[in-house]
Point group: C2
Chain length 346, copies 2
DNA sequence: CTGTTAGCGCTTTCAG
DNA sequence: CTGAAAGCGCTAACAG
């Protein structure tokens, strides 16, 4: 295993100076055709590739954008990641992906690693528990990243205000929940259970807010027992629905915090002999790719995850000095009507 | 935006030499407690972080593993990615993700980028069309990567033989298909349609092979018209099933090349008034997370994607000089029985 | 234990 | 158009 060739080797082989090699490699510089050809041949013969690190030592940043998420398996994050990767490629950037498992310590480590890498942008994606600790942490990141020449992007989570030195890309989370609930309401349902996520998690809280506002719009009171908080994956939905069925309030419809919860709830409902949608209607959130294959096909709220990811990278890589990395964009959501909601009989 | 501090600034502020700073930063070196404290304080006050690039300029590689896949949204790849990321983190590596959209040119670009980055390992994951061009390309990668000190890992695709200088991590793809088909056979089905992927794609071809071998084991002939090749996503499954229903052979069961195809096929079947599993049984492949929520819950083959990803990284980061990056591991698959198969009536 | 001094591989003035 | 030389920020001998 011989040592890999450096620009010096190429220069020697081509009989030119290192500077010349560097010039033909970077392209944008007048070099005589003959010299260029010789260098290119040497490069090919040596199978030479530049050392990105040596190169990055000069410029301020390093042509990579980093995506930091809690985890990467759920369709929600996978689709954000796909959008980020796609746009990063378009912007001639590499895409680094890290997970935190929602652990602030891990997040701290990861953001710092990204600083070490001199990433152009660090994209923090997904809901969070938005307490003081969080805000302070973000302020620290923003500062550290900013005077390292890279930008912080908050994606699929609330903006921290127009004065906060970060780009934000949100989606109409509250609006989507409002629309979902309204859909149930217009179908005549009044006893609507909301099976939400953990208390405090922004994504879930906003969805609860949309649920509340829709009810309010109909002049209906919000009964706290109709809102269940807890883990919002399939298991959480299944377990909580089972408990609710056993000793919970009456209901004719369910607004599930996300499609995973909806899947679990449907399974529990079916086990209990309640037919969906004949006996109980349900709407989900996120529109995971398989929502159309659920039984019944799930009416749910489509979230533009890929677009969130793309936009995050686009803003981060294009943002001009004027805006100084403080822009804020809000993407829309919309209800996808399938077959899990029925007008209330009677 | 002032310039970011370098190790020199820290040294000055702490009143020591750069070497000393470097030593306390790397940790593994005797430094007096007092000096260490002073350096650490300076680091904190300056909010200093090392420059990973400058550091990487010394060592041969750069603590990153790269994952190269066709795309990142489907659960199959998302789960491999999750495994890779997880294990990379354990091995104190960063995880770079790139997509090729199955375009060889793009793949070439990406692998070269990874070489520029001095990645420890480059993991190529997912099925491929295994022609001469492919083999030659891989040989080129392996060579380039090898004498750059990093390793090539072939993941979820066939090994290129024990002499090929790459690590391979496969799963029992043929075996899983064999088991799936046998499951249908033991339920009494004889007219089994195989809705496979594109001809030549290793993943699909192996599944067809398992289908054939199971039939052969039962002494049954393999009728070519019973095997449909084409795009193997939900749409492909839907469209092809519709065509098959209109003017295809008779069948009582279906072996779908993957769960997406199964979902599409089920949708088409239902539209045509054929009940699943009462009229036709079906088994899928991959066991996507939502397979249990399909209508009916889908019997399918579980593939250990996360484990494939983890193993790929583990072998790449742990492989010793003796094995010289040539190991080959095969992971198991198994049938997950749910509710989409019924014994053939009569 | 600590400082000095070479580079690592590349880009970029500054001179030809 | 091309070359020489000065670093970029860090680590790794080599001396104290």
């Amino acid at each position: 295993m011989k040592k890999r060739p450096s620009i010096k080797d190429v220069a020697e082989r081509a009989g030119v100076s290192m500077a010349t090699v560097s010039r033909v490699l970077s392209g944008d510089y007048p070099v005589s055709g003959e010299t260029r050809a010789r260098v290119e041949r040497a490069v090919r013969e040596l199978d030479y590739v530049v050392n990105a690190h040596a190169r990055a030592l000069h410029g301020a940043t390093s042509k990579v954008v980093a995506l930091v998420v809690a985890e990467v398996v759920t369709p929600f994050f996978a689709r954000i990641a796909a959008g980020v990767e796609e746009q990063a490629t378009l912007a001639h950037r590499l895409c680094l992906v890290c997970t935190t498992h929602a652990d602030p310590d891990r997040e701290l480590d990861v953001v710092r690693l990204m600083r070490e890498q001199r990433a152009d942008a660090v994209i923090l994606a997904g809901g969070v528990v938005e307490n003081d600790d969080y805000r302070e942490r973000m302020r620290g990141y923003a500062q550290g990243l900013e005077n390292a020449g890279s930008r912080l992007v908050l994606c699929a989570r609330p903006s921290l205000g127009p004065d906060f030195p970060a780009i934000s890309v949100e989606y109409e989370n509250v609006g989507g929940a409002h629309a979902a609930t309204t859909h149930l309401l217009t179908a005549g349902h009044r006893k609507i259970l909301m099976v939400a996520g953990p208390v405090g998690l922004t994504t879930s809280d906003q969805r609860v807010e949309g649920y509340r506002s829709a009810l309010a719009m109909y002049g209906l009171p919000v009964d706290p027992v109709m809102i269940s908080h807890g883990p919002w994956d399939r298991d959480g939905g299944y377990l909580r629905m089972r408990a609710l069925l056993e000793s919970g309030p009456e209901f004719t419809a369910i607004f599930a915090g996300n499609d995973g919860v909806a899947a679990g709830a449907i399974a529990a409902l079916r086990e209990a002999g309640r037919r969906v949608p004949d006996d109980v209607s349900i709407v989900g959130y996120d529109d995971v790719p398989s929502a159309a294959d659920f039984n019944p096909p799930l009416t749910t709220v489509r979230v533009p995850q890929a677009e969130l990811g793309r936009t995050a990278v686009r803003l981060a890589t294009e943002s001009s000095r004027e805006t100084s990395g403080r822009e804020h964009v809000m993407l829309g959501t919309h209800l996808v009507i399938r077959d899990s909601v029925r007008p209330l009989a009677g």
